[in-house]
Protein backbone atom coordinates (compact mmCIF):
# COMPACT_ATOMS: atom_id res chain seq x y z
CA UNK A 1 0.00 0.00 0.00
CA UNK A 2 0.96 3.66 -0.16
CA UNK A 3 0.15 6.54 2.14
CA UNK A 4 -0.02 9.92 0.47
CA UNK A 5 -0.03 13.34 2.05
CA UNK A 6 -0.73 16.64 0.36
CA UNK A 7 -0.01 20.24 1.32
CA UNK A 8 -1.87 22.47 1.65
CA UNK A 9 -5.14 20.75 2.44
CA UNK A 10 -7.02 23.83 1.33
CA UNK A 11 -6.36 27.40 0.23
CA UNK A 12 -8.18 30.49 -0.90
CA UNK A 13 -6.30 32.46 -3.53
CA UNK A 14 -6.71 35.62 -5.51
CA UNK A 15 -7.06 35.43 -9.28
CA UNK A 16 -3.83 35.91 -11.18
CA UNK A 17 -1.69 34.30 -8.49
CA UNK A 18 -0.14 30.81 -8.45
CA UNK A 19 -0.31 27.98 -5.93
CA UNK A 20 2.04 25.03 -5.62
CA UNK A 21 0.63 21.81 -4.21
CA UNK A 22 2.99 19.26 -2.71
CA UNK A 23 2.51 15.50 -2.72
CA UNK A 24 4.56 13.17 -0.53
CA UNK A 25 4.40 9.37 -0.66
CA UNK A 26 5.66 7.04 2.04
CA UNK A 27 7.27 4.66 -0.47
CA UNK A 28 9.06 4.89 -3.78
CA UNK A 29 6.72 4.77 -6.77
CA UNK A 30 7.33 5.17 -10.45
CA UNK A 31 3.95 6.35 -11.62
CA UNK A 32 2.38 9.43 -10.08
CA UNK A 33 -0.72 11.21 -11.31
CA UNK A 34 -2.44 14.54 -10.74
CA UNK A 35 -6.23 14.73 -10.95
CA UNK A 36 -8.78 17.48 -10.64
CA UNK A 37 -12.25 16.97 -9.20
CA UNK A 38 -14.77 19.76 -9.48
CA UNK A 39 -17.77 19.81 -7.13
CA UNK A 40 -20.13 16.94 -7.84
CA UNK A 41 -18.01 15.77 -10.73
CA UNK A 42 -15.72 12.86 -11.34
CA UNK A 43 -11.96 12.89 -11.44
CA UNK A 44 -10.22 14.29 -14.50
CA UNK A 45 -6.61 13.35 -15.13
CA UNK A 46 -4.39 16.40 -15.54
CA UNK A 47 -1.04 14.72 -16.12
CA UNK A 48 1.15 11.74 -15.44
CA UNK A 49 4.46 12.48 -13.73
CA UNK A 50 7.13 9.81 -13.87
CA UNK A 51 10.46 10.44 -12.22
CA UNK A 52 13.23 11.27 -14.65
CA UNK A 53 11.01 12.34 -17.52
CA UNK A 54 8.79 15.21 -18.53
CA UNK A 55 5.20 15.05 -17.33
CA UNK A 56 2.64 13.88 -19.88
CA UNK A 57 -0.40 16.16 -20.03
CA UNK A 58 -3.93 15.18 -21.00
CA UNK A 59 -5.95 17.01 -23.58
CA UNK A 60 -7.03 20.38 -22.27
CA UNK A 61 -4.14 20.76 -19.83
CA UNK A 62 -0.84 22.46 -20.65
CA UNK A 63 2.51 22.73 -18.93
CA UNK A 64 2.46 26.52 -18.77
CA UNK A 65 -0.73 26.44 -16.72
CA UNK A 66 0.03 23.34 -14.65
CA UNK A 67 3.80 22.89 -14.33
CA UNK A 68 4.77 19.70 -12.53
CA UNK A 69 7.98 18.68 -10.83
CA UNK A 70 9.00 15.13 -9.94
CA UNK A 71 12.45 15.34 -8.38
CA UNK A 72 12.45 11.84 -6.87
CA UNK A 73 10.36 8.70 -6.43
CA UNK A 74 8.48 9.93 -3.35
CA UNK A 75 7.65 13.56 -4.11
CA UNK A 76 5.93 15.73 -6.71
CA UNK A 77 4.51 19.22 -6.99
CA UNK A 78 1.74 20.65 -9.13
CA UNK A 79 1.53 24.40 -9.66
CA UNK A 80 -1.70 26.04 -10.70
CA UNK A 81 -0.54 29.21 -12.47
CA UNK A 82 -2.28 32.50 -13.15
CA UNK A 83 -5.39 31.25 -11.41
CA UNK A 84 -8.95 32.14 -12.29
CA UNK A 85 -12.20 31.20 -10.52
CA UNK A 86 -12.59 28.34 -13.01
CA UNK A 87 -9.58 26.68 -11.39
CA UNK A 88 -11.51 26.28 -8.14
CA UNK A 89 -11.51 22.56 -7.57
CA UNK A 90 -10.06 19.73 -5.55
CA UNK A 91 -6.64 18.63 -6.76
CA UNK A 92 -5.64 15.06 -5.99
CA UNK A 93 -2.29 13.34 -6.16
CA UNK A 94 -2.32 9.62 -6.92
CA UNK A 95 0.21 6.82 -7.20
CA UNK A 96 0.13 3.36 -8.62
CA UNK A 97 1.56 0.15 -7.22
CA UNK A 98 1.03 -3.01 -9.26
CA UNK A 99 -2.67 -2.91 -10.10
CA UNK A 100 -3.85 -0.71 -7.25
CA UNK A 101 -4.10 3.04 -7.27
CA UNK A 102 -3.93 5.20 -4.15
CA UNK A 103 -5.07 8.76 -3.71
CA UNK A 104 -4.06 11.57 -1.43
CA UNK A 105 -6.65 13.47 0.62
CA UNK A 106 -6.78 16.29 -1.94
CA UNK A 107 -6.19 20.02 -1.89
CA UNK A 108 -9.33 22.14 -1.98
CA UNK A 109 -8.59 25.31 -3.93
CA UNK A 110 -10.90 28.32 -4.07
CA UNK A 111 -10.02 31.18 -6.39
CA UNK A 112 -11.71 34.51 -5.77
Amino acid sequence: SAVISQKPSRDICQRGTSLTIQCQVDSQVTMMFWYRQQPGQSLTLIATANQGSEATYESGFVIDKFPISRPNLTFSTLTVSNMSPEDSSIYLCSVRTLLEQFFGPGTRLTVL
Binding site: S42, L43, T44, L45, S94, L99, F103, G104, P105, G106
Partner: protein, 112 residues
Protein backbone atom coordinates in the same frame (compact mmCIF):
# COMPACT_ATOMS: atom_id res chain seq x y z
CA UNK B 1 -15.26 9.69 -27.38
CA UNK B 2 -14.85 7.43 -24.38
CA UNK B 3 -17.73 7.64 -21.98
CA UNK B 4 -18.53 6.08 -18.61
CA UNK B 5 -22.05 6.32 -17.21
CA UNK B 6 -23.10 5.65 -13.66
CA UNK B 7 -26.47 6.17 -12.00
CA UNK B 8 -26.62 9.93 -11.81
CA UNK B 9 -29.22 9.94 -9.08
CA UNK B 10 -28.53 8.94 -5.52
CA UNK B 11 -29.47 5.43 -4.48
CA UNK B 12 -31.29 4.99 -1.17
CA UNK B 13 -31.35 1.51 0.29
CA UNK B 14 -32.74 0.04 3.50
CA UNK B 15 -30.11 -1.40 5.80
CA UNK B 16 -29.64 -5.12 5.30
CA UNK B 17 -30.70 -5.09 1.65
CA UNK B 18 -28.37 -5.54 -1.32
CA UNK B 19 -27.29 -2.35 -3.06
CA UNK B 20 -26.59 -2.65 -6.79
CA UNK B 21 -24.76 0.05 -8.70
CA UNK B 22 -24.36 0.13 -12.46
CA UNK B 23 -21.48 1.25 -14.66
CA UNK B 24 -21.87 1.39 -18.43
CA UNK B 25 -19.21 2.44 -20.90
CA UNK B 26 -18.91 3.19 -24.61
CA UNK B 27 -16.11 3.60 -27.13
CA UNK B 28 -13.62 1.81 -24.93
CA UNK B 29 -12.17 -1.64 -24.52
CA UNK B 30 -10.74 -1.69 -21.04
CA UNK B 31 -8.39 -4.35 -19.83
CA UNK B 32 -9.40 -3.68 -16.23
CA UNK B 33 -12.39 -2.21 -14.48
CA UNK B 34 -12.10 -0.83 -10.96
CA UNK B 35 -14.46 0.35 -8.26
CA UNK B 36 -13.60 2.99 -5.70
CA UNK B 37 -15.31 4.44 -2.67
CA UNK B 38 -15.14 8.15 -1.96
CA UNK B 39 -16.28 9.82 1.23
CA UNK B 40 -16.92 13.60 1.40
CA UNK B 41 -13.69 15.57 1.61
CA UNK B 42 -11.53 12.51 1.02
CA UNK B 43 -9.71 10.95 -1.91
CA UNK B 44 -11.09 7.79 -3.53
CA UNK B 45 -10.22 4.46 -1.94
CA UNK B 46 -9.65 1.41 -4.13
CA UNK B 47 -12.10 -1.46 -3.55
CA UNK B 48 -11.93 -4.04 -6.32
CA UNK B 49 -10.39 -4.66 -9.71
CA UNK B 50 -11.74 -7.07 -12.30
CA UNK B 51 -9.99 -8.07 -15.50
CA UNK B 52 -11.59 -8.23 -18.91
CA UNK B 53 -11.43 -12.02 -18.91
CA UNK B 54 -13.11 -12.32 -15.52
CA UNK B 55 -16.88 -12.45 -15.14
CA UNK B 56 -17.16 -11.95 -11.42
CA UNK B 57 -15.06 -11.08 -8.39
CA UNK B 58 -15.93 -11.05 -4.72
CA UNK B 59 -14.43 -9.47 -1.63
CA UNK B 60 -16.25 -9.91 1.65
CA UNK B 61 -19.70 -8.28 1.14
CA UNK B 62 -18.74 -6.85 -2.24
CA UNK B 63 -19.32 -8.45 -5.62
CA UNK B 64 -18.44 -7.07 -9.03
CA UNK B 65 -19.49 -8.42 -12.41
CA UNK B 66 -18.00 -7.45 -15.75
CA UNK B 67 -19.78 -8.05 -19.06
CA UNK B 68 -17.58 -6.90 -21.93
CA UNK B 69 -20.32 -7.71 -24.46
CA UNK B 70 -22.84 -5.44 -22.75
CA UNK B 71 -20.03 -3.06 -21.78
CA UNK B 72 -21.34 -3.04 -18.25
CA UNK B 73 -20.25 -3.69 -14.70
CA UNK B 74 -22.49 -4.22 -11.70
CA UNK B 75 -21.30 -3.55 -8.17
CA UNK B 76 -23.19 -5.23 -5.34
CA UNK B 77 -22.99 -4.62 -1.61
CA UNK B 78 -24.81 -7.35 0.30
CA UNK B 79 -26.16 -6.93 3.83
CA UNK B 80 -25.72 -3.18 3.45
CA UNK B 81 -24.93 -1.03 6.47
CA UNK B 82 -25.22 2.72 7.10
CA UNK B 83 -21.39 2.83 7.11
CA UNK B 84 -21.51 1.82 3.43
CA UNK B 85 -23.02 5.22 2.61
CA UNK B 86 -20.60 6.98 0.24
CA UNK B 87 -20.06 7.78 -3.42
CA UNK B 88 -18.88 4.85 -5.51
CA UNK B 89 -16.81 5.45 -8.61
CA UNK B 90 -16.32 3.13 -11.54
CA UNK B 91 -13.03 3.42 -13.41
CA UNK B 92 -11.66 1.91 -16.61
CA UNK B 93 -8.07 1.17 -17.42
CA UNK B 94 -6.32 0.26 -20.64
CA UNK B 95 -4.06 -2.71 -21.11
CA UNK B 96 -0.86 -0.76 -20.65
CA UNK B 97 -2.15 0.30 -17.22
CA UNK B 98 -1.01 3.79 -18.05
CA UNK B 99 -4.21 5.70 -17.53
CA UNK B 100 -7.47 5.35 -15.64
CA UNK B 101 -10.65 7.21 -16.53
CA UNK B 102 -13.40 7.64 -13.96
CA UNK B 103 -17.16 7.75 -14.05
CA UNK B 104 -19.01 10.52 -12.23
CA UNK B 105 -19.97 8.22 -9.37
CA UNK B 106 -23.17 7.15 -7.67
CA UNK B 107 -24.04 8.40 -4.21
CA UNK B 108 -25.33 5.58 -2.05
CA UNK B 109 -27.25 6.13 1.17
CA UNK B 110 -28.11 3.27 3.49
CA UNK B 111 -30.85 4.13 5.94
CA UNK B 112 -31.10 2.34 9.28
Amino acid sequence: SQKIEQNSEALNIQEGKTATLTCNYTNYSPAYLQWYRQDPGRGPVFLLLIRENEKEKRKERLKVTFDTTLKQSLFHITASQPADSATYLCALENSSASKIIFGSGTRLSIRP
